[in-house]
């Protein structure tokens, strides 16, 4: 057997963030001229590994060696890795929408004549670069904002190729693409391979991995757990999923007294949503329900459409075009805004506390009462003493650790901020509570407190819809589980009998 030739070897890479070991002695090898897929759950360390490779985390911030073309490299930044022939294409594309395609392709490495940009040559070269990515018919003078997502991605690849890239890294390139565009992209990667370009692709779609990969590396919890090769037929769906999940389920999920109710508190039928600006389909024909006293888990990977589902139910603040039926407490509802959803007894604790959940420059008191000030007011005038009492009640009952309710939220830890967020939504006295990634970014102790609280709430007859990327959490807390992938519900499972493998299979469908 001929010696395999490696374009890249990453040896014993370790990267530590404060309090977390994101990468733990990772070994990662890419052969010359192959398509290599990197798979793993959210948070497994894929993106971190690629950021180490591309110099986002410069030499010195990680330990281990990067060997490119046989020599050790110490990149101080992205520009270094670019010079060495590495190009990375992120999910959020880095093109300037208001600029033309040719301006974008040569942005940062402009073709010059003397000190000035040679626009004629730029346009000519851009046309050549576009041909390489099968965009023969695209006028390079088109503005990027007028292109669909699929074409934008190809333009970005053209940009990378124009820099004489040797190693192309794609971070979930097909996540936002429809089937035709995805197929086209995979086809292009094969073509580039024939021209000697090596690609690393991060993907959550197992089927496409199987279709295209020469080799697969699986990461889990910051470690390399498996490598497979198409040469010996080792790339099998079951095999990949087994290695992706396989995490120990710790026993941190408190037990609760399950009471069986039959009453459906929230039900959604044939629910569709599409973005009113781009027309992109976001949710497709989703149907599910939750009963009184039940925790329903919504599993799936990031970008599957779970947060969008929650928003579309919760008064549709993003103004999607929606079709389908929504029932709350048996009544058909058509919410014209979050205020109507709140009134009907639905509350939504957002995934992004800082972005759209809390007012960080305000104090605990203001944040807890803001969604239900009417309850504290007579003729529009807030009873401030009642407000203080209310805030103190939730500070006490949720054990929010802060010197007083006057404390600004920006000075609280993530766990305590999350408790404030919960307090705010409990105060609207909801019948259905939607929790979006309720334990993201908070420590184990606070997690346990939140699980205990959830149990207490459902024992009191509340319904909880919990969206989570963490499989152990989904399995540990839910009574029933729905799995979402690509804007569709791909499966429903009872808690008993659900395995991480089964869920992951549906989530990567």
């Amino acid at each position: 057997m001929a010696m395999k030739e490696y374009i890249l070897k990453m040896n014993n890479i370790t990267k530590v963030f404060p309090g977390v070991k994101a990468l733990d002695n990772v070994n990662f090898q890419v052969e010359n001229g192959e398509i290599h897929c990197l798979v793993g759950e959210n948070g497994a360390g894929k993106s971190t590994l690629m950021k180490v490779l591309s110099g986002v985390y410069p030499f010195g911030e990680y330990s281990g060696d990067i060997i490119l073309d046989g020599s050790v490299r110490k990149f101080a930044g992205i520009s270094d890795s670019e010079k060495a022939g590495i190009a990375i294409i992120y999910q959020e594309l880095a093109l300037v929408p208001e600029m033309t395609v040719y301006e974008n392709i040569y942005l940062g490495h402009e073709i010059k004549k003397g000190r000035l940009i040679d626009w004629n040559e730029t346009i000519l070269q851009a046309g050549e670069a576009l041909k390489k990515v099968r965009l023969n018919n695209l006028n390079p003078a088109t503005k990027v904002k007028d292109l669909g997502v699929g074409k934008r991605q190809l333009v970005e690849i053209a940009k990378a190729l124009s820099k004489n890239v040797k190693l192309l890294i794609l971070d979930e390139p097909t996540a936002a693409l429809n089937e035709d565009d995805s197929e086209n992209l995979l086809e292009l990667l094969r073509e580039l391979k024939e021209h000697g370009v090596t690609s690393i692709m991060i993907s959550h779609k197992i089927k496409e991995v199987i279709e295209i990969a020469d080799n697969v590396t699986v990461l889990r919890d910051g470690r390399t757990v498996a490598s497979m090769s198409a040469r010996d037929g080792g790339i099998l769906e079951g095999n990949i999923i087994k290695h992706m999940v396989g995490r120990e389920i710790e026993n941190i999920y408190p037990k609760r007294n399950v009471q069986k109710y039959e009453e459906k508190t929230l039900e959604v039928n044939n629910w569709n949503a599409c973005d009113s600006k781009t027309g992109r389909e976001i949710l497709k024909d989703m149907s599910f329900f939750v009963k009184k006293g039940e925790i329903v888990g919504i599993a799936g990977l990031m970008g599957a459409g779970r947060t969008e589902l929650a928003h579309s139910i919760f008064g549709n603040p993003d103004e999607y075009k929606i079709s389908g039926d929504l029932y709350v407490m048996g009544q058909k509802k058509h919410f014209r805004g979050p205020h109507e959803a709140i009134k009907a007894g639905v509350a939504y604790v957002t995934e992004d506390r800082k972005g759209n959940g809390l007012i960080l420059i305000s104090d605990i008191k203001t944040n807890i009462t803001i969604a239900n000030l009417k309850a504290l007011a007579k003729q529009g005038i807030v009873n401030e003493n009642e407000e203080v009492k209310t805030a103190n009640y939730y500070k006490g009952s949720l054990d929010i650790k802060a010197p007083s309710i006057e404390q600004k939220l920006e000075n609280l830890s993530g766990g305590n901020q999350q408790k404030v967020s919960l307090g705010k939504w409990l105060y609207v006295k909801p019948k259905v509570l939607i929790l979006d990634e309720p334990t993201r970014g908070i420590d184990v102790g606070a997690k346990y407190e939140i699980y205990t609280l959830m149990n207490r709430l459902v024992e009191d007859g509340m319904s909880i819809i919990m969206i989570s990327s963490e499989l152990p959490e989904i399995m540990g807390m839910s009574d029933r589980i729905y799995v979402v992938s690509d804007g569709r519900i791909t499966g429903e499972l009872p808690a008993e009998g659900a395995t991480q493998e089964k869920i992951m299979e549906m989530a990567t469908n």
Binding site: P338, H339, N385
Partner: protein, 391 residues
């Protein structure tokens, strides 16, 4: 010992707010010394307040606009235009004063609704909408005054709003009687309100200031009210402008501090996305804020026309810039979500005191602009520094 710590705590917590008052006092004392007491004379202070009135009411509205992360550049010429409309209604149509005022205020509020609609429903940046509004109303002002030029308003009742004083009723050694009575009443009401508030808090078992600190606070605020009253009573007493400004401040302070609407305004400024997801109707609240701004611009126009006893073709020039400066000096944050009505009023008086004091000292106008600019930047630097300090 306890009282010292308590005082220190209080100052630390409210440094931004107290800083404003301290700055105003320092400026006043400095000018007072530089002008041999002329600055703090009854006559000058009375004038100073009357001159600031039409900017002060704009600064109140501008505070809310800045809190919700917008800007309104059109207020100056809206004031100018509506001031001219008031003059026309009074002279050409001989409309009674009260009806004129009501009509002009309603017109102002309606203009604000249009601006608010363009900003919220049409998603046009407020900077652009109000820049356009500035041009439009500048043109409108020239249009309505084109045939007449400056419109003289001969109506004494109307002009009293800008120049007149409340009736004396009686006098003690030549000191304005009713002003003293009102000043005393304000002190009594203030003390009663504070006691009421304190008792309520005690009933709920909340922490309150210690007895000593509470007394110190009551005495201090009463002295300030008493002193200002005394100074004004020594000249012609409270002017109608003062009365209007005080009413506007009290109403807006109440709305921002005590009502659901006020909380919603600050929530939108603090995090618009979170506000939306909290069930707040962001568009509606923003429309109300823009509408109130233009209504106050109408009030400003009335005060200005009454003060000049005429509507001129250039009325309203740069009012908006003074109002914006006052709001920023008064602690409104450009990042949104923070800023008090009372702060902006103090800000307006800080800027007006600077102008007035420097005029008395005979400082050249060129230096005056430079110094005012420097004070604006210094105030915002102070604001940013004290805000960033973690509690």
């Amino acid at each position: 010992m306890g009282i010292v710590n308590e005082a220190r705590d209080l100052i630390k917590k409210n440094i931004r707010e107290y800083g404003m008052y301290i700055a105003l006092v320092v400026i006043m004392l400095t000018f007072s010394m530089a002008t041999d007491g002329l600055f703090m004379s009854s006559r000058n202070i009375s004038n100073l307040i009357n001159q600031t009135g039409y900017i002060a009411v704009l600064a109140v509205g501008m505070t809310l606009i800045i809190v919700i992360r917008h800007i309104d550049l059109s207020v100056g010429y809206i004031a100018g235009f509506l001031g001219a409309i008031a003059a026309i209604l009074l002279t050409k149509y001989a409309m009674p004063v009260w009806i004129t005022i009501a009509v002009v205020l309603v017109l102002g509020a309606s203009i604000g609704i249009i601006i608010g609609f363009l900003v919220t429903k049409m998603s046009i940046p407020s900077f652009v909408v109000t820049l356009a509004g500035m041009q439009v109303f500048r043109g409108a002002l020239l249009r309505v005054t084109s045939s007449t030029g400056t419109i003289i308003v001969p109506n004494a009742d109307f002009n009293a709003i800008g120049n007149g004083y409340i009736p004396k009723l009686f006098s003690i050694n030549g000191v304005h009687g009713l002003t003293l009575v009102l000043g005393a009443a304000a002190i009594v009401l203030y003390i009663l309100a504070e006691f009421n508030n304190r008792n309520n808090k005690l009933k709920y078992g909340f922490e309150v200031l210690s007895n000593v600190m509470f007394t110190v606070k009551l005495l201090f605020v009463s002295l300030v009210i008493g002193y200002i009253t005394w100074i004004l009573a020594g000249y012609n007493g409270f002017s109608w402008t003062v009365v209007v400004v005080i009413i506007v401040v009290l109403v807006y302070n109440f709305i921002t501090e005590k009502t659901v609407l006020g909380r919603h305004i600050y929530a939108i400024g603090g995090n618009p996305d979170a506000a939306k997801l909290s069930g707040i109707n962001v568009n509606r609240v923003s429309m109300i804020v823009f509408s109130s701004m233009s209504m106050l611009a109408a009030l400003s126009g009335i005060l200005y026309t009454a003060r000049l006893q005429s509507a001129t073709t250039t009325a309203g020039l740069a009012f908006e810039l003074d109002a914006i400066a006052a709001a920023y000096v008064g602690g409104a944050s450009a990042a949104g979500g923070a800023g008090k009505v009372t702060g902006s009023i103090i800000g307006a008086f800080v800027m007006a005191s600077l102008t007035n004091g420097m005029n008395l000292m005979g400082v050249d106008i060129s230096y005056q602009y430079i110094i005012r600019g420097a004070v604006l930047v210094a105030a915002v630097i102070f604001d940013v520094k004290t805000r960033n300090k973690k509690a």
